[in-house]
């Protein structure tokens, strides 16, 4: 037999590599759709099992987004605080001294972007600052196209 089918481990690794690309694309703006993923990896199209697993993953991710979206809405002062964005030049209202926060952030319009977050509406205003409801901008348009 010269016919060589990839082992389960190799298949898993190929799939995971595609998923790494998916997550990275999502981080930098927008997750690719199923068709875009397959267009980037035409070699996968001949492997119905792998394509099926990609479909399943996209379904799982979509369901998770739907559920976690509800949690995001309650998480009103979330902030992206990874090590890598320490020297990020984007002004982040939650990093400003508290006294400055309300003043500088006081009159922001819905749709304003702060890093990964998009302001949706003002929720509360007090001596210590202004609180906005936000959505995660990198989730917009990231659902699979099916």
């Amino acid at each position: 037999m010269v016919d060589r089918t990839p082992s389960a481990d190799e298949e898993e690794d190929t799939l995971n590599q595609v998923l790494v690309e998916y997550f990275d694309a999502r981080d930098s703006g927008r997750g690719p759709t199923r068709d875009e993923m397959l267009a980037m990896h035409p070699e996968l199209i001949g492997d119905p099992d792998l394509v099926g697993q990609i479909d399943e993953f996209l379904n799982d991710q979509q369901l998770f987004d739907r559920f976690s979206d509800a949690l995001e809405m309650t998480n009103i002062v979330a902030e992206r605080d990874t090590a890598s964005c320490q020297d990020n030049a984007t002004p982040d209202p939650s990093r400003l001294p508290v006294a400055d926060r309300g003043r500088r952030a006081g009159n922001l319009k819905p749709g304003t972007l702060f890093g990964d977050y998009e302001l949706v509406e003002e929720i509360a205003r007090g001596g210590m600052g202004v609180v906005y409801k936000h959505g995660r901008s990198n989730l917009i348009g990231s659902s699979p196209s099916r």
Binding site: V20, F23, D116
Partner: protein
């Protein structure tokens, strides 16, 4: 224990995993190894139980607001506690900065919780269900999902932090999402 206290304890317990997720998200990710959100939540639920007669509200939404307030207070205390501890032990600069940043943020959070009118959680059942289901995942899958979605880390950052390859992290996320979907659908 009287009926009111017993009833409160029962209701409060439903929010445990939700509060853990919430507290964890408020925490600067560099402090996650030094401070366990679930410990602070445990202490919060204990206090809620001990001080149940202070709770005057009639609705569950008011109770959640009350819990969040106690939690925000306790998180602030816990982070201030780290600052004192750190002063004695070592003065790792990035940690000092993270503690500073986190306590400013907790003060902001607390101010919000104190000034905000109590309101129903957005899509309450979905939120609680997700939090409970996440809590049941294998540790590594849950950690990867929380860092990815709760803290916005990239796959590469998670891989470095967990000492695994990027593809292994993608595998953790994939399996975690699959398991969540199976359990969320099952309970629907």
């Amino acid at each position: 224990m009287n009926n009111a206290a017993e009833n409160l304890e029962h209701v409060v317990e439903r929010y445990r995993q939700y509060l853990v997720l919430l507290a964890d998200r408020q925490l600067n990710s560099r402090l996650r190894g030094k401070l366990d959100a679930s410990d602070v939540v445990q202490q919060t639920l204990l206090e809620a139980h001990q001080n149940h007669e202070q709770f005057r509200g009639a609705h569950e939404a008011e109770m959640v607001a009350w819990l969040r307030k106690i939690l925000a207070n306790n998180m602030l205390d816990a982070i201030r506690g780290l600052r004192r501890e750190k002063r004695d032990v070592d003065r790792e600069q990035s940690i000092e900065a993270a503690i500073e940043q986190s306590s400013v943020r907790m003060e902001g959070w607390l101010a919000v919780e104190q000034s905000r009118p109590s309101q129903q959680l957005a899509r309450q059942e979905e939120t609680l269900q997700l939090a409970d289901t996440m809590a049941g995942l294998p540790e590594a899958q849950r950690e990867a999902l929380i860092l990815k979605n709760g803290h916005g880390w990239t796959v590469t950052e998670i891989a470095q932090h967990m000492g695994r390859s990027s593809t292994a992290v993608a595998g953790l996320l994939k399996r975690g999402l699959k398991q969540l979907r199976q359990q969320l659908i099952e309970s629907e």
